[in-house]
């Protein structure tokens, strides 16, 4: 268990594969939750990456919170990097290049034998006038293709004081999960999407609504990345609203889809969208 702020374990339930939009508005809370997240990662023998402004301050803060960073930094388990060496490596924000960087980081960590990577990104850099930053919502949505592989847990910290509320809301939609002051990340009310190999496709769990609809859309965008036909296992999906059900139905427009584990209420919703008349959509009810 990570230590908590005011009794709230904000990021304790974040697991590998999760992608969380964390809106922060005070520095003490931020540091404490980062410390909890890093500590849990070090204990789980994950590679831990902190990416943000002023890495020195964060390291000092971690020490103050009792997280020993020296040994982890020395053996490479903990990495502290700046936006300039990651998101902004080419001097501008290039989403494709950034994703390539993350994929390289994954290959490297796998090669060294880590069971997973925990990334915490302080996104304050994106509140500055950086060329390319207007593509950040696209990046946040399509980064879900990386997270659904189940190897990386990502927490994107957005400082409410630095971002326009409407822009922040749009950025939030692209994340399957959310956390905020007094509102910890809850897997039950978030979307969890994990790539499956046999059968090929994706397993969805949790809840999809307006708050994470763009994340579902992005997951479906990447459904056929590796194979031409896919199974979407919805057995553990506990809530789907009408717009999200529509996204599931529309998935069949891109290739043959098998929807497996459909609950009675989801069945009704799919029928409302005319799912039985969609060629290429096979439905299995539970």
């Amino acid at each position: 268990m990570g230590r908590t702020v005011g009794g709230l374990p904000l990021l304790d339930k974040v697991a590998l594969g999760d992608h969380v939009c964390w809106t922060v508005d005070d520095d003490a809370t931020r540091l404490e939750a980062i410390a909890g997240f890093v500590r849990a990662g070090l204990e789980a023998r994950h590679r831990v990456v902190y990416c943000g402004d002023d890495p020195g301050d964060v390291l000092a803060g971690l020490e103050r919170h009792g997280v020993g960073t020296r040994a982890a930094l020395d053996d490479g388990q903990l990495r502290v990097i700046t936006p300039e060496s990651s998101y902004l490596a080419g001097g501008v924000f290039d989403p494709e290049a950034t994703m390539k960087l993350w994929r390289a980081a994954i290959d490297e960590a796998r090669g060294v034998g880590y069971a997973g990577i925990r990334v915490i990104g302080d996104m304050t850099w994106a509140s500055r006038k950086v060329p390319g930053v207007e593509r950040l919502p696209w990046y946040e949505a399509h980064a879900n293709a990386i997270f659904m592989e189940g190897y990386v847990a990502g927490v994107c910290a957005y400082d409410r004081r630095r971002f326009d509320p409407l822009h922040l809301r749009r950025l939030g939609w692209a994340h399957p999960g959310a956390a905020a002051f007094r509102s910890p990340f809850e897997p039950e009310s978030s979307l969890r999407a994990r790539r499956t190999r046999d059968p090929y496709g994706v397993r969805l769990a949790g809840e999809v609504d307006l708050s994470n609809r763009d994340a579902l859309r992005a997951v479906i965008d990447h459904l056929f990345d590796h194979e031409p036909a896919a199974t979407i296992d919805v057995t553990e999906l506990t809530f789907v609203d009408t717009a999200a059900a529509r996204i599931l139905v529309d998935a069949a427009a891109r290739g043959p889809v098998r929807l497996a584990g459909i609950s009675p209420s989801l069945r009704k919703l799919l029928e409302f969208h005319g799912a039985c008349r969609i060629p290429g959509l096979a439905m299995e009810f539970r």
Binding site: S189, D209, R246
Partner: protein, 309 residues
């Protein structure tokens, strides 16, 4: 030439019912129309028997089931049928009111009957609406004169002198809803993070009263209404839930204004993923009442506590 005909049939007994409906159907079948009969189960049986072999060319629907919520008769019964048979004249018998309809359902039926005129404008269709004058409240029959341009009474067609602009008639029943029961509980919501909170709030309370499948449906319906608030009404809202006279009632109030009188009653554009929230609410719930104006909107939904009343 396209024409829309929307007469009300005033009948006192079975003979008068059959004397108009059977020829209406026979003539339509002979003319090659597509024919739908959507009436309550008792009259459905009656008509099937009287039609004999002609019944094979007719589509039947139990209005007490498919039209239980008057708000879904247009989008779930009448319009899909008309749309599926665009290439020819469609003839429909639609009987939305029957003895046993509650006062708030009757108001919803008046609104529905008025809006048929708007929704079918320009369509090549006839919709005949029978009214049981022997058993229905006098006010219901008076409303039929307001919502139908033509009346059929004692075998003859007459123009209704009471018929008015359907949008004005629909607006005339856009009145404040009666207050919730005294033991109603409310929850205020404002942002995206509250969606899950509202769902849990509704689920907890509905689970004590409704079977599991209906709990899911109510949770979804309220969620769609609250999502509309957060998307369009730009501000906080209030959700309230209570039990009254055999129904679990729930309402969502916000500062938005739903100006489209056909909101939730149109067929959605096939390719657009949006604009289906209210339509779905109409499908899921046993009654949907709405009061909307520039000062705000209140949408109230009912779920029957028992499967039958």
């Amino acid at each position: 030439m396209t024409r829309f005909d929307h007469p009300a049939l005033l009948y006192r007994d079975t003979d008068e019912y059959l004397a108009t409906t059977v020829p209406f159907i026979r003539t339509a079948v002979e003319a090659g129309d597509s024919v739908l009969v959507a009436v309550p189960a008792g009259n459905l049986t009656l008509l099937r028997g009287a039609l004999g072999g002609v019944g094979g060319c007719v589509e039947f629907a139990d209005m007490a089931e498919s039209g239980r919520n008057p708000g879904r008769i247009l989008p779930a019964v009448l319009l899909p049928f008309a749309e599926a048979h665009r290439d020819r004249h469609v003839s429909i018998i639609g009987e939305p009111v029957w003895p046993g309809r509650t006062p708030s359902e009757r108001t919803a039926c008046t609104q529905h009957e008025a809006l048929i005129n708007t929704a079918f404008e320009g369509r090549d269709a006839s919709v005949l609406c029978p009214y049981d004058t022997a058993r229905l409240d006098r006010a219901v029959v008076a409303d039929a004169w307001r919502t139908h341009p033509t009346m059929i009474d004692e075998g003859s067609r007459i123009a209704s002198g009471e018929y008015d602009d359907p949008l004005l008639t629909a607006e005339a029943v856009n009145l404040p809803l009666p207050p919730p029961a005294g033991d109603a509980v409310s929850l205020r919501y404002s942002g995206l993070a509250d969606l899950a909170v509202v769902r849990r709030f509704i689920r907890r309370r509905a689970a004590a009263v409704l079977p599991a499948e209906r709990v899911d449906e109510l949770v979804l319906a309220v969620h769609e209404l609250v999502t509309n608030t957060i998307r369009h009404a730009g501000g906080p809202g209030l959700v309230t839930i209570w039990v009254e006279a055999g129904v679990l009632a729930c309402q969502v109030e916000d500062r938005g204004h739903i100006a489209d009188p056909l909101a939730g009653r149109r067929l959605p554009p096939p390719l657009s993923p949006c604009g289906r929230g209210l339509l779905l609410v109409n499908q899921l719930c046993d009654l949907v009442r709405m009061r909307s104006g520039p000062g705000g909107t209140c949408v109230r939904v009912h779920m029957w506590v028992a499967a039958d009343r």
